[in-house]
Symmetry: none
Subunit: 274 residues, 2 copies
């Protein structure tokens, strides 16, 4: 009534017809999500800009829906059992590989380097997805390849974040060969390994140059799930000398950014990871 319809069509999106109350109610849920614990009615009201009476009505219905609970009667509000159920259902559908695909393509386009994704299979980090550059001198990053633990960027980032019990035997095996790749990389004892991995943890990123594949350089970053455990790693791969491995380099920053976003979409709480 107050506003001309044509003006609305210009400035606001037509926004295919929906149910307004659904959208008006979500700020209430958002407020509860962002708060670490229970909230009072007035706190919710101020956080959402609603009048207390209005917020109360939404809360009453959310309680009946199970999305919200209230401590006794008259107490503070918090997320309810259905919120948990909803989240569990959502988590079960999320597949790292699915959501990683688009992010990998983006990163590849942004940087112009080959980007690949590895999961931890029983025998080590296994390359599962590749976003290649159209470069002629294409790097042979092949699907299904199992990378070494101590001498590849993928292996190193998994070694840095996986439970040591899982990696113990593999580390031992790679250290055992006095002329192996690990030894060539200057890794001879567990202390050497631990020192290296600590650096990668601090940086939340691993580096490998001219090791498992001659002339190759790579950066890898971890992807965590809702349990804050590493579930995958994403790497930027190129030729030695053509990829800046510094922590402040553009590839490093963008890679870290992409990995962080993916972790967040998986429900990780990155501020709680060592």
């Amino acid at each position: 009534m107050a506003v001309d319809v044509n003006e609305l069509d210009i400035f606001e999106r037509p926004a295919s017809t929906g149910i307004q109350s659904i959208e008006n109610g979500t700020p209430v849920l958002r407020a509860l999500v962002q708060a670490k614990g229970p909230l009072s009615l007035t706190a919710i009201a101020t956080a959402t800009g609603m009048a207390p009476g209005k917020a109360h009505k939404y809360l009453a219905s959310y309680i009946r829906a199970g999305l919200v609970t209230q401590n006794e009667s008259g107490g503070r509000y918090d997320l309810g059992p259905f919120a948990l159920e909803l989240g569990v259902a959502a988590m079960r559908r999320i597949d790292v590989m699915e959501i990683a695909q688009a992010a990998m393509d983006e990163l590849r386009n942004l940087l112009g380097y080959t980007v690949s994704l590895a999961l931890w299979a029983n025998h080590g980090p296994t390359i599962m997805r590749i976003a290649e550059t159209p470069d002629i001198m294409s790097l042979t990053v092949r699907f299904g390849t199992v990378m070494p633990l101590l001498t590849s960027s993928f292996g190193r980032i998994f070694a840095a974040y996986l439970d040591r019990r899982i990696t113990q035997n593999m580390i031992q095996a790679e250290l055992a060969d006095p002329k192996g790749l690990a030894a060539q990389a200057g890794l001879k004892t567990f202390a050497d390994v631990e020192k290296m991995l600590a650096q990668f943890r601090a940086r939340r990123m691993s580096v490998a140059e001219n090791l498992s594949t001659p002339g190759r350089a790579a950066l890898a970053a971890p992807i965590f799930d809702h349990n804050n455990r590493i579930v995958a790693a994403i790497a930027v791969v190129s030729m030695q000398g053509r990829l800046d491995l510094d922590a402040d380099s553009r590839p490093a920053r963008e890679l870290a950014n992409t990995a962080r976003k993916l972790s967040q979409r998986l429900g990780a709480a990155l501020d709680q990871i060592p």
Copy 2:
């Protein structure tokens, strides 16, 4: 207009005033939760008893809220990123999960068996955390799985300690099938169930062997909160024959020890529990 207000007050609960659309919309979310994957509009419409046009409007708003996503335009509907956010936020409020993680890892390292944690959600014991062994023959204990009440170690320990009013219907349902898992386990009447649960209560631990999952054996122990009510259960899982289920076995003792510590950290008074 159609119905006398006084009649309504008698038969329906006054139900403190809320927002009807919020409650009318939840069946849409429920349908998506219960489905294992994406659903078409018509599938949602039939599942909720709504007309397609109506369901579409709710979905449009849920999409804008982030609770639902749609595969491209015109595709099927599924839970969205905000559903995940909601769930992660809800999970974070559950103290047990925070403190259980480290204890589970410890127990896994100590025993060499897979350890998992379940909470009671609306539909039964739901697996929320897993600490896996690096074994190649990894058991497929999957996040979010809802376990049966009478034929899983998780279900049994919850059944033993939860208020019977909560479990009554589920027990009845599982007993109803004369060829179901419960019947195969020798459970036919409520008396059978009560006898079994009494044993688990006495031992403060439940057992399941070769039941809901063929070839699997598991021990589960309850975790109580400051109200001395069961809030979670922790289980040691392995293959049949590879896990000693005796009360005096090392796995049983260590599991009981871990569960006791967790209960104490939650403020339980274990000596007052039947």
